[in-house]
């Protein structure tokens, strides 16, 4: 009797990696190490490859195909689509940040200089379009 538990394990690992990544998006340690899902896909592919090597049956082939496709798509997203090019930032540790004035959510102008000698400031630039 041929056992398909390695194939099942491979599929569960792949799907678990996807589910886990989304489930833990709020946990910085998971979110900021997106390469972890690629590691899971790669292990899943190795397991499926070994299973196919031992028994060239269609469930093993399908599992191998799935994990390889996920590995390629995940790699493309992580290394190509999600990349942000280096920008010629003027920010240097130890140097002052350039002043600016921008409207806040109520439309009132806020200038960076207005916090000087009063409070530390954390500036968060984000991509927007929520």
């Amino acid at each position: 009797m041929i056992r398909y538990w390695p194939a099942l394990l491979s599929v569960l690992l792949s799907l678990g990696a996807i589910a886990g990544y989304y489930a833990f998006l709020r946990v910085p340690a998971i979110r900021n190490h997106p390469g972890l899902y690629l590691v899971a896909f790669a292990i899943a592919a190795v397991i499926a490859g070994a299973a196919t090597w031992h028994a060239a049956r269609w469930p093993n082939f399908v599992t191998l195909g799935l994990s390889v496709v996920l590995l390629i798509l995940g790699g493309y997203f992580n290394f190509v689509l999600a990349r942000v090019p280096a920008t010629p930032t003027v920010l240097r540790v130890g140097e002052p940040a350039p002043d600016f004035t921008l409207p806040d959510a109520s439309g009132a102008p806020v200038s960076l200089a207005s916090f000087r000698e009063r409070t530390p400031v954390v500036l968060v630039f984000y991509r927007g379009y929520w």
């Binding site: 910085p28 997106p34 920008t87 930032t89 600016f100 959510a105 954390v122 968060v124 984000y126 927007g128």
Partner: protein, 102 residues
């Protein structure tokens, strides 16, 4: 990040989003952020943080960046993302703020 607000640190979140969108987000997060609208990305560009055509519809966006300034306006800690998947880790930001000279 809300914890930082409690410590009297001002958090300014800058994006090209119009104000109504940011207001919505502020309510959703219940955060002590002040959202600033850099709608033409002039400040983002001046800071050298423009990610041209980086948005999901090909529009210009900011490179995700977190900067900690001491009370004299000097940059003390800086994180520039090289992937859109990376977001500031509140633990790192809190540590950087904690190490500021009083």
């Amino acid at each position: 990040m809300t914890e930082l607000g409690d410590r009297g640190v001002q958090i300014l979140a800058i994006s090209p989003d119009p104000n109504e969108k940011s207001q919505e987000l502020a309510q959703k997060l219940r955060a002590r952020y002040r959202f600033l609208a850099d709608q033409d990305l002039a400040v983002t560009r001046r800071y050298g943080l423009l990610h041209a055509h980086g948005g999901h519809k090909g529009q210009d966006v900011a490179r995700p960046t977190t900067v900690v300034l001491d009370r004299h306006g000097i940059v003390r800690w800086l994180q520039l993302a090289d992937s859109i998947q990376i977001r500031p880790d509140p633990t790192d930001v809190a540590r950087a703020v904690g190490q500021l000279p009083q």
